[in-house]
């Protein structure tokens, strides 16, 4: 090899060789102007000093003999620009060329007429390639698609054996000498670092050089057999010689442990083997229900380079079937009603659902919400009545009659209330037997919350007493009802307030409750004395739902905090505008996304879509509008329509014809899922009013609901 010989390629298509050994100032040796376009690459033959190969934008490769003035042979790629050419290190006659259209061609230098083989390596231009210095069959290529691929050329079809995904288009690849699996890369845009990868570990570079301030334009290993020195040039006008031990190793900064929960509560944990083995002797979690069921160990063959020693252990801990069961989640998701009915009904329904699944606290919450929010209308109307009839002793009775007569919902409400009263008693029974629900946190019961909850439970069970008491001596009742101290599982929500024993809150809360009860249920005549107190309490309650917003908000936050984002989101949807402004958008969005994610993991697609649809959060709402693809089949030939248009490729028919008017439907298209005929919404509606058969005449009995 001639140390003094240098070849350069220029953007104007000139290939120049320089001889540094020349005594004159001008070291230029040869000048070839055969290429018409920019020359992208020149390459010396690894053993023949005088043989030089060039690849150009014009699609030609030329082989020059430096002892002659002109090129010896010209190879035409028959396609777009040549981006790189490389002589094979082992095969004397072979060279590889990469092209802008993603192809790689292999040529025999003796046969300029056609390539030996060709394969598509990348999507988009292949910027570079490099033959493996030891293994004759390996060729690495890098492309604009940000991939580095290693091809095994020994087989008849080039086979991709390794693939490394980088973060930017790959401008240069260079195998590291003496290390079979190491390859250095640099990129053309955006990313200025040089990476050295172990191709078997494609996810994290084994070494990284971060010196350059601008794009790295070229890299080369300093010596054919020295793996420790790397030279690099850059657009920041610097040339660096990197010593391998200076390289930063991203692996040091990476977190080598991984932890993941499965849907069903199983826990997988992967970590460096050394960590695991040192720990494995001692029992990690005493008294844990979980136990490892799976233990896998992977060892790499020994390597001379330290970075390689990558082996990790994966343990999977399985949870008890019952304790980890998420059935309640699925059931709840399926049964909850989120919209379409008056608030009170929704709340009652959901409370029932929750109760049916032994989730008493959630049930309580729903009940409370109904009480807080849904009786607003009644409050105002009673207030009205009240002020009209003030001073009259017969008023209480009148009042209750009026209430009865108020048509919408009220009657049912009182009925519901009764039923709730019943269920509550059984509820208490159950609670006292302290059935645990699968939630983790139900083990820790907050004692202080207990009496309060009990109180609230009872408030509704015997309203009359409470009603009286509430106004006459509000404090007595607290003592009285805090007596039963059985631990019953309690999630604090509602309860927050009374438990604090805060006078202000107390006043706000209990009179309200009792007031409502009075209106809706109690038909008992009351003396005029207490009447005044009613009206008093009612006046206090004129602003109630707003007043309770902070508490409801805290409740929701509490549930979300506990991990029960389902409740939080469901309440959020049901209450809608009543509570929306209380909670900041981001939190809401976060809840929604978590809940939707959970639903989708349980494959509850319909419900997740319903949630998306009902959400008032803009970011969530538009989820289904973006990135939603409807795949449709042609109604004629029943094959999928590949076009974005409405014309079927195959049968040349317009797919969305109205079966009634035989015109194309633009806008709303309705179709029967039984026979797949359909058309304009109006037309179909009209048709099916008079006929029960499909307008297309297929004989299907369509139904429009």
């Amino acid at each position: 090899m001639d140390e003094n010989l240098l070849a350069t390629a220029a953007t104007n298509g000139v290939v120049v060789t320089w001889n540094l050994g020349k005594p004159s100032r001008n070291k230029q040796d040869q000048l070839f102007t055969e290429h018409k376009r920019t020359v992208n690459k020149v390459c010396f033959h690894p053993t023949e000093v005088y043989m030089l190969l060039s690849g150009s934008q014009d699609g030609y490769m030329k082989c020059f003999d430096l002892r002659k003035k002109d090129s010896v042979s010209t190879f035409s790629g028959q396609s777009e620009s040549v981006r790189d050419v490389q002589f094979s290190i082992r095969d004397y006659f072979t060279f590889a060329a990469t092209f802008e259209n993603g192809n790689v061609q292999l040529w025999d230098i003796r046969r300029p007429d056609r390539y030996e083989r060709m394969f598509t390596a990348h999507n988009g231009p292949v910027f570079c390639c490099d033959w493996h210095p030891e293994d004759r069959g390996w060729l690495a290529t890098g492309g604009r698609d940000k991939m580095v691929k290693v091809w095994d050329m020994n087989t008849t079809r080039a086979k991709e054996i390794y693939c490394v995904q980088t973060i930017a288009s790959v401008a240069r690849v260079k195998w590291r000498p003496e290390c079979k699996h190491h390859i250095a890369t640099c990129s053309m845009m955006v990313d200025h670092n040089i990476y050295v990868w172990d191709v078997r570990r494609p996810f994290i570079p084994s070494a990284m050089f971060e010196e350059h301030k601008d794009v790295t334009t070229g890299i080369v290993w300093r010596h054919l057999h020295d793996p420790y020195f790397l030279l690099s040039g850059s657009k920041d006008s610097t040339l660096y010689q990197h010593i391998f031990k200076d390289a930063s190793q991203p692996i040091d900064r990476a977190n080598p442990e991984g932890l993941c929960y499965s849907l069903y509560g199983d826990l997988a944990f992967a970590a460096k083997e050394s960590l695991i083995s040192s720990d494995s002797n001692r029992k990690p979690y005493i008294g844990d229900r979980r136990h490892p069921i799976f233990f896998k160990r992977k060892l790499d063959p020994t390597e001379q380079f330290e970075y390689i020693s990558s082996s990790s252990a994966l343990s999977v801990f399985e949870t008890d079937v019952e304790s980890g069961s998420m059935d309640w989640f699925v059931h709840t998701a399926k049964q909850y009603a989120l919209a379409g009915r008056p608030l009170a009904e929704l709340c009652d329904h959901n409370a029932k659902v929750a109760k049916g699944l032994d989730r008493n606290q959630v049930a309580q919450t729903w009940t409370m919400l109904r009480i807080i929010y849904s009786s607003l209308g009644t409050v105002s109307s009673t207030n009205l009545n009240h002020s009209m009839g003030k001073g009259s002793t017969t008023l209480p009775l009148m009042n209750s009659f009026n209430l009865k007569d108020i048509p919408s919902g009220l009657g049912s409400e009182s009925r519901l209330d009764r039923s709730k009263g019943e269920s509550r008693t059984e509820n208490i029974l159950m609670d006292s037997s302290s059935t645990l629900i699968n939630n983790e946190d139900n083990e820790e019961t907050e004692g202080s919350d207990v009496p309060a909850d009990y109180l609230l439970g009872d408030v509704e069970a015997d309203e009359d007493d409470l009603y009286m008491m509430d106004h006459e001596n509000p404090h007595a009742e607290e003592q009285e009802y805090s007596l039963p101290q059985e631990a019953f599982p309690l999630r604090h929500e509602i309860v927050d307030n009374p438990s604090a024993l805060d006078h202000l809150q107390d006043k706000a809360d209990s009179p309200h409750v009792s007031g409502n009860e009075a209106e809706t249920v109690s038909l008992t005549p009351v003396e005029s004395f207490s009447l005044i107190s009613i009206s008093h309490s009612l006046y206090e309650n004129r602003l109630p739902s707003d007043f309770f917003n902070p508490i409801v908000r805290d409740t929701l936050l509490f549930y979300a905090e506990q991990g029960d984002v389902q409740t939080a989101v469901s309440v959020l949807i049901v209450l809608g505008d009543r509570i929306r402004k209380e909670i900041d958008e981001q939190t809401q969005e976060h809840w929604y996304t978590s809940y939707i994610d959970l639903l989708q993991r349980f494959q509850l697609w319909n419900i997740s879509n319903e949630v998306i649809k009902l959400s008032t959060c803009r970011a969530i709402n538009c989820l289904n509008q973006a990135s939603t693809t409807l795949h449709i089949n042609c109604s004629n030939c029943k094959r999928p329509m590949s076009n974005r248009g409405w014309i079927c490729d195959r049968c040349r028919q317009c797919a969305s014809m109205c079966a009634v008017c035989h015109h194309v439907v633009k806008g709303l298209f309705v179709w029967c899922q039984g026979c797949s005929h359909g058309g304009h919404l109006q037309h179909i509606m009209k048709w099916l009013e008079t006929s029960s058969h499909c307008p297309a005449g297929c004989g299907h009995l369509c139904e429009y609901t």
């Binding site: 376009r37 604009r144 709303l668």
Partner: protein, 499 residues
Amino acid sequence: MAHHQLWKNLYGNNSRYLISLFFAGVPVCMQRSFPLFSQQPSLEKRVQVSPPLTRGPSAFIPENEVMQANGLDERTNLLVEEYSTSGRLDNITQVMSIHTQYLESFLRSQFYMLRMDGPLPLPYRHYIAIMAAARHQCSYLINMHVDEFLKTGGIAEWLNGLEYIPQRLKNLNEINKLLAHRPWLITKEHIQKLVKTGENNWSLPELVHAVVLLAHYHALASFVFGSGINPERDPDTSNGVRLIAVNNFCVCDLANDNNIENASLTSSNFGIADSLSELEALMERMKRLQEDKEDEEASQEEMDTRFEKEKKESLLVISGAFDDEIVSTDVSRYVEDPGFGYKDFARRGEDHLPTFRAQDYTWENHGFSLVNRLYSDIGHLLDEKFRMVYNLTYNTMATHEDVDTTTLRRALFNYVHCMYGIRYDDYDYGEVNQLLERSLKVYIKTVTCYPERTTKRMYDSYWRQFKHSEKVHVNLLLMEARMQAELLYALRAITRHLT
């Protein structure tokens, strides 16, 4: 139980005219693959549109020229598909459909940047299109996107003018202005100003989306004027005021012809025989360029001077024989600093701007990577479009067949870039001089730099022997070259901002 699904089509609100067009045309195509528009007379009867000013989609190209093209079958399909997706078949599409292959990639990329997932909200995209088109007073595009803007839920108030839009959009004015007229002035400081964190900042993906839209619509304006696209015959009278404005505009545009008494134009009044020999000569020159490349070995310095010369010459091509144009208020409300126009790259001797060396920042290597990184997939679409337009050929020239037009196409493409100060090291700019006659250069310069001044006479005066479809091809090349040039400057600035 029957079930129904609703299919909402965004663009459902189309005109009667188009519907009937569709039904009149399609069944025939299906039976006999007949040209879509051959049913014109019956159409006219059916919809009773007021007679248009000029028939057909273009004022420059006779209607029947637009209709007859090769690959009718494919073309019909494409048009039908386009109609069924967008609910209209605008004149641009009709004229472009002469080059079906290109049209496909054009529509795909336009569809993607306007309607598919992207960083910017839909109304924003159309408003940006309006802003871009307004730089060239292209009422055609403005009207089209005003409609789209409203349909996608844009705030009608914004249409009152730039004072009514949010500051954030307003900030885009500067870059719009530069990009449209003097893209070489865009620096990383402009980018920084937009991206700088603050109340009205742009994220990089949003900015890239906006830049792509701006460049696309500046270039499209060139095409609209260059091909003399007629206003849409849209019977939708809901915005009648604007329609009238369009018509006015078009009348004055055609009348504009008389304004130019450009020497180069009047002198090119050859007879047919002359222009025939002109064609022969051109082909002769092309052949020579292709064959004996080697015998004229120009030195690097020589090449440099040729580029400089070409740059300078592009200066002389039109010396501003134009009065300041009266911009209709209709358009001007979307324009800030209307006086800012193209100034020749070469003229600015004092503060000499460095030439943009194409190899330092190419679309394939750099532009693509950046665009695709920040606004995924648009890179591939634009890449395909550029590639398509660059390689599009039918191997014909006027009446001759089997001609390799590579050099000619390259000359056109590079000449546009040359006017924007982008230089290819591996190109001999002497070729431009040999291949592009003066009247063509006038046309190129007008269409790319101030398209609003294009006239039918300019269009007619070059390449008299060539077919209209070939002239449309030229327009496509000019449009894409211009778009690429703008993108390169803008993306380079963004790259510099990033490093």
